[in-house]
């Protein structure tokens, strides 16, 4: 460290001590801006598509009238809101309009996987995915 750098460091410390220069001023403006937030690939957020859940014992089929841009990973049911969501491989989470009533808790408690049918029109995709219940 040269003489100039030493002097600068000394003066900076002195200014802090006197309270003339505040700690927050050392942080460059805008550094907390969420520039590095990655928008997940796939269908993210609220989905307005129609949907139906068909169940018979432990067999469950969830059919959604929407073409997902990314591969579905799992389906989760938030019991606090009643909402069903589809998590996708790229991190997107699509929240369905379909809200399951609480009496489905008993019906779904042993369901570990379900057949997820997606797509508009007669061309469909079927994924056999994990099912997760999130309790309040």
């Amino acid at each position: 460290m040269g003489f100039g750098a030493k002097l600068k460091s000394l003066l900076t410390a002195f200014l802090y001590k006197l309270g003339i220069w505040k700690e927050s001023e050392r942080i460059p403006h805008g550094s907390d801006r969420p520039d590095n937030v990655v928008i997940p690939a796939g269908s993210h957020g609220r989905l307005e598509a129609d949907a139906v859940i068909l169940s018979e014992g432990d067999r469950v089929v969830l059919s959604i009238g929407h073409d997902f841009a990314d591969v579905p990973s799992w389906v989760e049911w938030d019991m606090r809101t009643g909402r069903l969501s589809v998590a996708q491989m790229g991190g997107a989470l699509a929240e369905l309009r379909l809200e399951l009533p609480l009496f489905y808790k008993e019906r779904m408690k042993n369901v570990k996987r379900l057949a997820l049918v997606t797509g508009q029109g007669h061309e469909k995709m079927m994924h056999y995915v994990a099912f997760i219940m999130r309790e309040a």
Binding site: D50, L54, V61, Y128
Partner: protein
């Protein structure tokens, strides 16, 4: 075992029809599902990455099926009965078209009542 359905207020016939066909395939395969998914005659499918892409043959229900259909915000379930050997989407279209609430044909009060 009783089959039940719960759906959004708006529901397209093909969304429900695909669910019914997949359930029939699921039921017929038990623990093998979804390995032999395309053995159901009404489902023409091929493996596509992590899943199966398929086209449902809407005339191909193997056996008759009946289930209670509840709509979100609805008060009571409607019994939907579907026959085999008849176009599935047309049957469903007719059935779910009848659950139209007060403005639907089933909800219209009979004259003089």
């Amino acid at each position: 075992m009783t089959m039940t359905a719960y759906a959004t207020k708006e529901l397209k016939a093909e969304t429900l029809a695909a669910a019914v066909l997949v359930m029939e395939a699921y039921r017929g395969q038990g623990d093998n599902f979804p390995g032999n998914f395309d053995t159901h005659p009404a489902i023409k499918s091929q493996a596509a990455g992590e899943g199966f892409s398929f086209t449902a043959d809407m005339s191909g229900l193997l056996s008759p099926v009946a289930f209670g259909l509840n709509r979100q915000g609805g008060v009571q379930a409607q019994i939907v009965s579907l026959s085999s050997g008849k176009p599935l989407d047309a049957q469903i279209e007719k059935a779910i078209g009848r659950v139209g609430g007060p403005s639907g044909p089933a909800g219209k009060p009979k004259p003089g009542v």
